[in-house]
Symmetry: C2
Subunit: 408 residues, 2 copies
């Protein structure tokens, strides 16, 4: 079997942990597998390097910043390969240019374009364990790039895809994907199998287990991803292609997000181009708008509500207040004490009535819904922040997430 | 003018010093020069990385150790380029694979085989200042190598040679090469110009200003090297091809070395192969023998004296004691309290009598000579350690090194 494994910064956070990871890798090798490992920088190292750059100059040049930060993974991959070599397991550390992992030229958030497999296959054939520096690539011209935060997940999935690996194991400091945040729902269960689409919705909702781009990559190339703990041998969560058994489960998980704030504009003129007039300046200010809801009124005007990150709330308010007169708005109003609660499940596609049930559950607990937004496999409601825990627990129970789903 | 500059670890030891170096580089650019800069790792960084590796495993695999240690210069070159970019001087950091700087495969002490100039010339033409990570290269197969301690000097000289630079300036924490150690000889003068050969003899004698391989490189490719302080604007010492004016100076400098010990073997059988029997086991034990002197005796036997590093003295004694019976040696004797005092000067070639004058000066001060060894431009005497300072000062004065040489 060809196994690609990824170890995050915490898993290789100090020398003792690097030795532990080496022992785990050696076990796989002993079982007869070919092993390709992708590592992040040792915990704290990337931040140390970024701080160094920002202490030196206000705005570091992006090309050199990537060159600087990329050393973090070069260090951890070299150390891990050393540990394996010292244990008698021949290993080679490889950085992006040695493979090469080609990316576009967007320094700081480059996208992988192509991964050559010749060198990796050749070294695997010679019996080497490969330790690959995650998070980085090189451009066509040979400049060093980085893939942005969490990029090592993407490196691992992309390498698994390129090599046609049997599985891509993501070792992290959590032991899998849960039906809800266990800190809020003590009865939350670890999900055994979940589809790429569900994982994408969960990841974007703040279940920070897998970097979202790595899931997109896994989905496109159909790479089975196993998310699991680097501190135990328990199986974690398999992220795989959707199949029929998944459709039987209405809802796979409940998530929440308390980092957004709501802004409502009343009496927006209902004419073409108004939305652009409102959201153009907000986008230019670099503020990411999440949900947008617009409702027509009998008087030919409309009310519009949207959410932005809490940290951008005041800035956004000032921006729309600047537009109030020009657009003849009746009223601008906002709230920071809100939360978005979502249910995610591939089974929604086949089963109507999931949304209705969600609204009913919230109503039964006296929770008022301010905004609703839906996708094929997700329903989100914005509610008052103080009801977050209550809503998550109630939905978790109502959709039967406390119980293990029946196995076929 | 095309100037190659090298800044050592102390010169880029912290962010403030990096900013200072950037300002100095900017000045050269303002004067209209093309500038290529080679940097070492920030002071202490190479040792930090080496310690990390040796804390992790007893014997780090050489390939991965080089990969690890090479990050030190990648960090400093990226930071220095950032500082220049922030000041408005377009700069690009380049690591070995981006040039490329090709070496052999001797990890930890690789030798430069070839430096491509296309990329560098192209970037210079575009107006970039180039900041090159020193001390490292890549093999034909793309593995990262390092050139060994002081390797950044070699990188700088090799790049200056490849680009046909007008001068290679080595900025360091001393301000040049002196006629003697100023801590011992207060009247020691900074040498304005010195030949490659003299510099080689001085460097190998312990005047640790320039790495010896970089001088060999400079000599082969006739690169004028300017050794100077990164903390001042004073000119330092030019290391250049020998010319007639140099021959007028009998002696350029006086050096000493207190790190060796002497071992004497009496009654060595005078037959072919004996020397190999003695020095074979010593070499196999990794002990570097410096001077060797053998004198025949009327009885057909010989007496042999040699020096080894003080740290290897006891080990060497045990080794030769093991041979005593087999070779029928009469006596083995050794001394640790010795020093080697040397005078170096290209002028010796043309002027006989320099050696005689050296012996006379030592005799006048009552200093007994235990061993003598000579090369074309160097004479070394082993004396009792306690006379080191006296000998160095006496020779410095006797050969007129206190006075500035006459300019032509």
């Amino acid at each position: 079997m060809l196994v690609v494994q990824k170890y995050g910064g915490t898993s290789v956070g100090d020398l003792e942990r690097i030795r532990n990871v080496a022992r785990r890798i050696a076990r796989y090798k002993e079982e007869g597998h070919d092993v390709v490992v992708v590592v992040s920088a040792m915990a704290g190292e990337t931040d140390r390097l970024l701080n160094l750059a920002h202490e030196l100059v206000e705005e570091p040049s992006p090309r050199e910043l990537d060159m600087l930060v990329a050393t973090g993974e070069q260090v951890s991959s070299a150390l891990l390969a050393m540990a394996l070599n010292a244990m008698g397991y021949p290993a080679k550390a490889l950085v992006a240019f040695q493979i090469p992992i080609k990316t576009d030229e967007l320094f700081g958030k480059a996208r992988i374009r192509d991964i050559a497999t010749d060198r990796m296959l050749e070294e695997l054939k010679k019996g080497y364990i490969l330790i690959i520096a995650g998070f980085q690539g090189i451009t066509e011209g040979g400049d060093i790039t980085t893939l942005g935060r969490g990029g090592s997940d993407t490196t691992a999935v992309a390498i698994a895809a390129a090599l046609g690996a049997d599985v891509c194991e993501i070792f992290t400091d959590v032991d899998g994907v849960y039906t809800a945040d266990p800190r809020i729902v003590p009865k939350a269960r670890k999900i055994k199998r979940i589809s790429y689409d569900e994982m994408l919705e969960l990841a974007s909702m703040g279940a920070k287990v897998l970097e979202i781009r790595s899931v997109e990559f896994a989905k496109i190339y159909k790479v089975p991803v196993h998310v699991r703990s680097s501190f135990s041998d328990e199986p974690g969560t398999m992220v795989v292609e959707e199949d029929e058994t998944m459709e039987k489960v209405l809802v796979s998980g409940v998530t929440y997000n308390r980092n957004e704030a709501r802004i409502s504009l009343y009496g927006v003129p209902d004419r073409p181009g108004v939305a652009a007039q409102i959201f153009g300046p907000i986008a230019e200010a670099g503020i990411v708008v999440d949900m947008i809801i617009q409702t027509g009124r009998p008087d030919g005007r409309a009310d519009m509500t949207f959410t932005v990150p809490k940290t951008d709330f005041k800035k956004t308010l000032r921006l729309v207040e600047g537009l109030a007169e020009k657009l003849g708005l009746e009223k601008i109003e906002g709230a920071e004490e809100i939360a978005k609660v979502s249910i995610v499940g591939a089974g929604m596609r086949a089963h109507p009535g999931v949304a209705a049930k969600m609204f009913e559950v919230l109503a039964q607990h006296g929770i008022n819904i301010h905004m609703i937004s839906t996708s094929e496999i997700k329903i989100s409601c914005v509610i008052d922040e103080k009801y977050t825990e209550l809503a998550v627990r109630a939905l978790h129970e109502a959709f039967g997430l406390d119980r293990e789903p029946e196995e076929e």
